[in-house]
Each structure stands twice: as structure tokens, then as C-alpha cells.
Symmetry: C2
């Protein structure tokens, strides 16, 4: 099946937002093996939109629109697709009910233009909007299926996951399932990972292997197309073995929602352990990653952002002599920060990060030099030296993730 | 001038990355009054790329490409545009020199395919790539100007700012300048701001008024097209007055690179002041925003992430009685945290944040209830109560920005 994605909205052409809906939809379609050949963005203009629709209908089997389903005059995706397909718009009663309920529950008078949102293409399959007012819809014309979705990601994402994907799966050849596994990596860049697996990735067909990089972590998704889930699983196993043989030491987890901090916090809670951190160059980033996980209060004691030597000395008891001879950016300081914050806050693990984030060097030490210390109850403290490249924000982000990665490694040993 | 943007790369169609280059280029073109009518993404495929180029040449005066200038066989933007325009590719000597230097400096053997990157369209205007190997270029054919740019944002952004924008300005009608001012807002949402200014935004023509929302802050750019900068300034002044009359209380700064934390840190350094923070629900986010500003070490003493009552009590001396009667999420706790962290770390200001980020309520208090405390040398401590909506990450992000905003207000009073 050949698919393309059309986003409608002048705000995209003005650069006010990025077209993240197209990215999301592309990932979803890739997951079920549907090839996306074009993304188009067009403004709120009937003539240009119609031109784009005609072109898409000629070259694609599946055309997914996002945006232009709202109440204003600028919203004209439904009207323009209706004109192309040659059908009218009819009221969808459940959608109208939702809209009326929304206004009456809030005691607000509904303006007339809101009714427009409950109109759908005559004969279309309607997707309920559980987080907004405008429903989505799908209609087939000639040999092309048109799917119309609301623009706001908070409405589009759940609609796609709940209703659109099952609908699209039904369009695919029968008795075909997509079975996939996600591997999560740290300590290896996307291009280095790709290089190590390039022959596997290039001969990818079934299963496919797709790497993604996000927030300094790399993810690999292996997807098999098969008659049953068990058959898909059997196809993934040898690929998994090959991946683990080559780059297994960088895999810290599997699954969708398992970023380093999520894996660490989940493990701590399961084991009844806690963590505390002392951060110099990362300035609170490790703590904010840990606390971004819902429920982290059960595992996170707290942290000290010891940006100055004063705070390292007074709050965390690093001797002035160490700060003056070894320096704030040193193995010794990292070790003491990790041990002292652990003891002071009474946690199972203590994480410390001290380094030079730049743009200027410090203590005559180069930008990118970072020490990560991990202290744990009953184990010798480990300090790792890192030489990180990139700008200030990248050094901070990578250093924080390395700290979480090393804490995870320590957890395995304990 | 009618412009469109074409991004070339299969990784975009797989959803591995979002098309942020198109967003960046659209903003830049909007700033100089060039209308963008289409964005297209097409894969690394000669036939489909050629189809897209022909369509673009018919409907646009300016076509900007990103991606497909690299060394591999998949990189075929230059080759395909050359075929459309009917010119050959020639070696650009400065680019070749840069590539050879790159490899010789690192002592790596250069593979033959890297030479491909120094080839440019015959007769094109070349843009130097200061952060990579493949140069950009511009060529005019019939009535259309084609601009080819490298895909990596770290190469494209500086090339556009340094070389492409001045080149494009020269294509515009003579003696026309774009004069703009950026206003930065906090404490008001994008839609509320737009509602208050909708009549101004809608009649926008010259000057134009464009709102952007990013990381919980809202920015408004007013751009005048005029014969001289002085004339542009004169056109902006009455618009600025109107904006300030209506929503002036939410403006905290003007200018491009002046996010709340940047404005706060710059002000602290200029005034020789310092700050420290005690964070409960924001878990280190305030500290990491402050320390994201280069040079912040001169103004930031450090912080305590006091996630548990234990740490609030032991490290920051909040009496157990207050924690037990008022609670951790209370005006009193916020006040004491701000005052105590300021004294303990010896700073001019102390910022505290304590609240319920969710997903569950805490101490019987609702998700979204947040107290921000600001203590300052020689002034009474101020505590603000916030009722924030949204998910955990949004509550944390907004609460952190409110804390910075209130600290800025306190700075004005001091």
C-alpha cells in the first residue's frame, strides 16, 4: 500500500509549529509495514488544497490528512475533500451530542460555528474524538482511502492509537499481524550502532530493523510481518540474537516507554531501594529526569545541586584540600560527592556528576571532561571518566544519561 | 515572492525525525515577508524527487531543498536538480580543500565518495559550510531560484543565518528592509494572548504580528517592511504601544534569545547578585534551566531538590510541626524553603517550589496546586499560589517558569 500524509494549516507554513503529526503518523504506518512516499503541508486555501488532493489521489492508495476540521472559516479540509469525492456533509449525532454536552456542562453558550464540527462526509466511517470536538473520518473514493484527522496532537494521537490503526489494519491483506520488539541502547551513537548493524538493516525486509535517536538515547525497533504473533516472534528471535551478539553490551532495556530514568526508577521501586544525587555540571538535570517519572517519590530521596565549591564543601563535606588540589572536576571529588550525598540523604545509591559543560574550560580542564560517581550501600564506589563532545546542552544531557546508565549497571551488581 | 520547501530524505518518511528544517526555514522566510505555500517531504528516489521538482518549478519563484548533499549513493538532490536544470556538476575548490583538511587533520584516510560532496551545480552561487563538508548552493533556472542546503540542522541553521538570508534579501525588491521586534510573555497562554490581540493580528499586513508558543512561553514578533530601518521603527512603535496597553503586564522581555532563565541570569550577573533554589515538585527543573545559561556559575549558588519531607526538614530546616500541620505543599513550607535555602547557600535570592505534580493527589491536595516562594535579602518573602492544569510534565514545566517569572518581578522591586 502506498500512503502519503497531508497536513493542512497556515501555522505550519509560517513555522509556528513543526509537523510532528506527520512524524507520528509515519512511525505508526512504518510499524504496520505501510510505505509513506510523501508528506505535504498546504495552507488553509481551498484551491491549493484541492490541487494537492488531486495529485495525492492519483499517486497513493491511502491519503491521511491532519488539521482543518475545526469550527472556523479557515477550517476547510472536510469541505474540500467532499468536493473532490463528490459527496455532501451530514450531521454525526454522537459528535453533536458530545459538543452540546461540552458547552452545557461548562455553562457556556455554544456559538453556531461549533455545529460545523459535527459534520462528516456522507457515507464515511467516523472515528470518535475522545479528547476534543471534531471527529475523524475515513472514506473510499475510486481506489484511494482518505482519512481525515483533527490537527491538535492531543486529539490526533489517541484517535490514531484507538481507532485509526485498527481500521487501517483491516485494509491490509488478511491474516497478517505485525509483531515487534523495541531495544533501548545507551553508550553508543546512532551512526555507530547503524554501522555495526548495517548489513542487517540493509537486507531488512521482514523483519525490518529501524533505528531512532531521541534525547541522547538510541532505540531499535524490529518488526516482523507474519500470519500469527507466534510466527512473528519466531522470526524476531534470530535477529535479536544477532543484535545481542554484536551490540548487546549497550542494551539497557526493551519496550516502548522505558527511557533510562524510567527503567532506573521502576527497578528501584521494585527492589525497595532509593537514590539521591549530587550534581555540579548537570545542574539538576539528573534529578529532574528521575522526578519526571510518576511515582518516583517512592524511590527518590532528593538531591543537591552543588554548583559552587562552597556548596560542595559546606553542604556535602568535600574537604577544601581536595577541591584545591584535585579540583572540583576530579575523580576524588566525584567519589566524595556520591558517597556523602548518599549518606546525608540516607539512600541506597548516591549519584554524582561533576565536569566542564563549557563553553569555557575550567580549572584548566577541557570542555567535555566529566566524572560520574556511583556510590552504593555495601559496594565500593565507582567513578567513570567521560570525554563528551558537543555544545553545553548536549554535554549536560549526555552526562546526565551516562549517570543514570552507570547507576543501572551498579544496580545489577548489587 | 512565492516560496516552497522540499526536504529530501527517507528518514523523514519513516518518522525517524521531524521536519524541523522546514519549520526553521519557514520562520526565516516569514521574517523577511516571503510567503511559503508548500512543504514537501520526498524520499531518496530520483524519479519521485524529479516529479516534485517539476511541480515546484511550475508554481514557485523560490524552491529551497534540505538534505541529500552527503557522500552516499542515497544522496541525490544535486544530481536530480542538475538534471532538471540541464547543467553539470563541477568541483568547488574551497569545499574540496575543507574536506581534504578535515581528513588529514584527523589522520583518517579519505574514501573516494567524500569527494562527491565538493561537487556543485555548474554556474551556481556557493554557500560555505562552516560546520560540515557539503557546501550549499543557489542557481536560477527559468524564473525559479533553487537553493540546495545540507540536511543536518547543525550545518543548515548557521549556513542560512550567515549566507543564505543575505543572498535572499538581495532577491527582494530593492531598498526594502525588514525591521522587527520580539516581545516575550509569561503568565498568559498563546490562545488567550491571540484572543486579546486578534483584531491586530487579523488586520496584519505591514507590520505583521506573529505569535509563537514554545516551552510554556509565548513570543510575539512584530515585523515591518519599509524603505529604511528608521521608517520600520516608526511603523512598529504604535503597534508596540497598543500591545503594551492591552497585555503589557505579561511582557517580561524583548529580543530573540531571552527566555525567562536567560533574562534572569543576565540580570543577576549585571547586578552582582546570586540565587539558590529549593525544589520539591519541580525536582531540579528550575536549577537545570538556570544552569543551562552559559556563564550562570557567576550567579547560581546551587540548589536542593527536597523531594521528601526528610530532606525538607534535615537539610533545609523546615520544622516537622509545619510539615505535619500545614503540610509539605503549603504557603508556610514554600516560605521557609525559600528563606532557608537563601541563607544556607548565602545568596541574594532564594526560590522555592512545592506542589502536587500528579498524577495522584498528595496530602489530600489536588493535582496542580503549587506554591512558589521568593525570598530576597532585605525584602519580605513573597509566596504565590498557583492552580496549574495539564499533565505532570506540563505542571512541572509551568511551575518552574512561574518561579523564574516571580524571581524576575522580585528583582525589579529590589
Amino acid at each position: 500500500m502506498r500512503a502519503e500524509i497531508i497536513a493542512v494549516g497556515t501555522e505550519l507554513l509560517l513555522g509556528q509549529i513543526a509537523n510532528t503529526n506527520a512524524q507520528f503518523l509515519s512511525q505508526k504506518l512504518a510499524d504496520i509495514g505501510v510505505g509513506v512516499y510523501f508528506h505535504t503541508v498546504v495552507g488553509d486555501n481551498t484551491e491549493r488544497l484541492l490541487q494537492v488532493i488531486r495529485m495525492a489521489a492519483k499517486r497513493s492508495d491511502l491519503v491521511i490528512f491532519s488539521g482543518g476540521l475545526g469550527p472556523t472559516q479557515d477550517d476547510l479540509t472536510k469541505e474540500t475533500v467532499a468536493a473532490h469525492v463528490g459527496v455532501g456533509l451530514v450531521k454525526d449525532s454522537p459528535a453533536m451530542q458530545r459538543i452540546e454536552d461540552f458547552f452545557s456542562q461548562r455553562g457556556i453558550v455554544m456559538t453556531e460555528n461549533n455545529r460545523k464540527q459535527a459534520l462528516v462526509l456522507e457515507g464515511s466511517h467516523v472515528f470518535s474524538n475522545d479528547f476534543g470536538m471534531a471527529p475523524g473520518m475515513a472514506i473510499r473514493h475510486d481506489s484511494t482511502t482518505f482519512v481525515l484527522l483533527p490537527g491538535p496532537p492531543s486529539e490526533l494521537y489517541p484517535m490514531v492509537d484507538r481507532y485509526v490503526m485498527p481500521y487501517l489494519m483491516n485494509l491490509l491483506p488478511e491474516s497478517q499481524v505485525f509483531h515487534s520488539r523495541v531495544f533501548r541502547f545507551y553508550g553508543i551513537g546512532e551512526s555507530a550502532l547503524e554501522e555495526r548493524l548495517i548489513d542487517l538493516i540493509e537486507k531488512q525486509d521482514n523483519p525490518t530493523i529501524a533505528p531512532y535517536a531521541k534525547e541522547f538515547e538510541v532505540t531499535l525497533r524490529v518488526t516482523a510481518r507474519a500470519a500469527t504473533a507466534a510466527e512473528g516472534e519466531a522470526m524476531i528471535l534470530p535477529v535479536e540474537k544477532e543484535i545481542r551478539d554484536r551490540v548487546g553490551q549497550y542494551i539497557y532495556g526493551t519496550g516502548e516507554d522505558s527511557s533510562l530514568h524510567e527503567v532506573l526508577v521502576t527497578g528501584l521501586i521494585q527492589r525497595g531501594e532509593t537514590v539521591a544525587c549530587a550534581e555540579s555540571c548537570t545542574g539538576g538535570t539528573v534529578a529532574s529526569l528521575i522526578t519526571s517519572v510518576p511515582g518516583s517519590s517512592a524511590a527518590f530521596k532528593g538531591g543537591v545541586v552543588c554548583y559552587t565549591n562552597e556548596v560542595k564543601h559546606q553542604v556535602l563535606g568535600v574537604p577544601e584540600e581536595v577541591l584545591n588540589t584535585d579540583g572540583a572536576v576530579s575523580e576524588k571529588t566525584a567519589q566524595l560527592l556520591a558517597e556523602h550525598v548518599r549518606k546525608k540523604l540516607g539512600s541506597t545509591y548516591g549519584i554524582s556528576v561533576t565536569g566542564v559543560a563549557g563553553p569555557d574550560s575550567s580549572e584548566g580542564k577541557p570542555v567535555g571532561l566529566v566524572y560520574v560517581g556511583i556510590a552504593a550501600e555495601g559496594l565500593p564506589t565507582v567513578v567513570k571518566e567521560l570525554r563528551l563532545a558537543g555544545r553545553r546542552q548536549a554535554i549536560v544531557g549526555r552526562a546526565a544519561k551516562f549517570a543514570l546508565f552507570y547507576a543501572l549497571q551498579m544496580q545489577k551488581e548489587r
